[in-house]
């Protein structure tokens, strides 16, 4: 029977991607709300399940739904904040793909610096970084989820890495070692 087949196929296939959906949601809206967002995305997937013609496309389809749900999730939160902060609309932070400081690594200064630097990136660069390194997606998957070409994702990722490298580079000391070496080499 069609209904039971649909139910069986959904129950058998979609849970396989729970991990990927969870990682994407956690990277985009934070671990605290990720489970609820995945639940929501799964509900939407279930409602549209019979329209999915290509079973090979399940993973990108589910990831795109998850990203869209997360986008609404954050937009809704931001909308609520704006409703209560009408005088400060410009100061509402961009909450999309902001990494939380992990309490478990609060003593890990390097990790905190890294996440702070990621959070300081522009939104379009930040989202590809968190989806690549914190959700574990490749450029093609990120492109599918964000509806941009994979080449654009690679380009953004490269720019993001350059900016991160610049932000995380140690400040130059007054007597850089390289300068001394250079001087020694020439003398």
């Amino acid at each position: 029977m069609h209904v039971s087949e649909g139910t069986k196929s959904f129950a058998a296939i979609v849970p396989l991607y729970a991990s990927a959906m969870l990682r994407v949601a956690a990277a985009l809206i934070g671990p605290a709300e990720a489970e609820d967002a995945v639940q929501e995305a799964s509900m939407r997937a279930w409602q549209a399940w019979s329209t999915l013609r290509d079973m090979n496309a399940v993973r990108p389809w589910l990831l795109q739904i998850t990203v869209n749900v997360c986008r609404h999730w954050r937009r809704g939160l931001k909308g609520q904040q704006q409703a209560h902060m009408q005088s400060l609309p410009e100061e509402v932070p961009d909450l999309w793909a902001v990494l939380e400081a992990d309490p478990g690594t609060s003593d890990h200064t390097g990790a905190l610096d890294l996440r702070a630097a990621i959070n300081a990136l522009p939104g379009d660069l930040r989202s590809v970084v968190v989806l690549r390194y914190y959700a574990g997606l490749d450029a093609t998957e990120i492109g599918g989820a964000l509806s941009v070409p994979a080449g654009t994702v690679r380009s953004r990722l490269h720019r993001a890495l350059l900016q991160l490298h610049e932000r995380l580079a140690p400040p130059p000391s007054s007597f850089p070692q390289t300068t001394l070496h250079d001087t020694e080499g020439r003398s």
Binding site: S19, L22, A26, E35, T51, N68, H72, G79, A111, L161
Partner: protein, 318 residues
Amino acid sequence: MNDEPNSRNHHKEELEADMSLPPESPELPELAALTARLTSDGARWQSRLPDPAHVAEHIRDIAQESPRAASEEAPVMAVDLTSRPEGDRRAPRPDHRHRAPAGPGGRFLGLIAAVVVVALLATLFLRLANPGRATGPGTLPTPTQTQPAPTPTTPPATATSTPTTYPVLVYFSKHPDSLNDPTAVFPVQRVAPTSAVATFAIQQLVAGPTVEERSAGLFSELNSIFIAPSECDAGSNPTQGGPDFTLTLNKKGSTTEQGTATLQFCRPTSSPGIGADARIKAEIDKTLTQFSTITKVVILTRSGHCFGDESGLDLCLK
């Protein structure tokens, strides 16, 4: 519990496969250390996420607890929960709320009904005085095509029947029925002071149920999804703001399709959730398909995408 052992293995393999991917084009050698650091922190981040097996269990429950999902029945418009076959639809309950009971309570309800009638007459008067505008501040749709003419299928007229008014039904959700079945909607009567009955009916849906109707459990989340002002042309009176939506007949999006009405929101929306989306779609769908000239409804967001379709595929336009 995980009665599908392969799924967990799959997660592990998938994660390992992902993490073993080479960094995305770290052409500059100085970026290699950075990508390694990102990969390491990403792995640490992922190790602290909720158990995916627990999430997978919930996903399985979704299908098993909702065996009557509309998508099972609808070949194309699967996201549209209102696409269930007629025989499977919950029949609208007859509206008994306006039947005045005997006694003092009945007189009180009669008084409220009289106030509503006066308000409707005042609305009619204002409309006749300003024929170029739709009614109601902030909720003024501008029909982009001729509205469907009232048909004999419209409900019996109430006491306010005049040659220039048209009774229409507006379908709201109701506690607790619509929380269990988002497609369950319940009609109330309104009197349209104009032949643009479809636009008027949706305006009334946006305005929400009356106090009396709310106390009977009726509700609509339609108004609560708007998060910004109208971006549509305010017409001849810009001080009142643009309409909440436009309604176009015989169009599926931009494509001509007889019998299909396209409702597009003029205001950016934010979805409160899958249940609310489904209820809003059911309310709009049932309210518009009461008119014989509308057999199918397409609901679009301000940006032109299918409302409630998080797949991004815009299935309602296919």
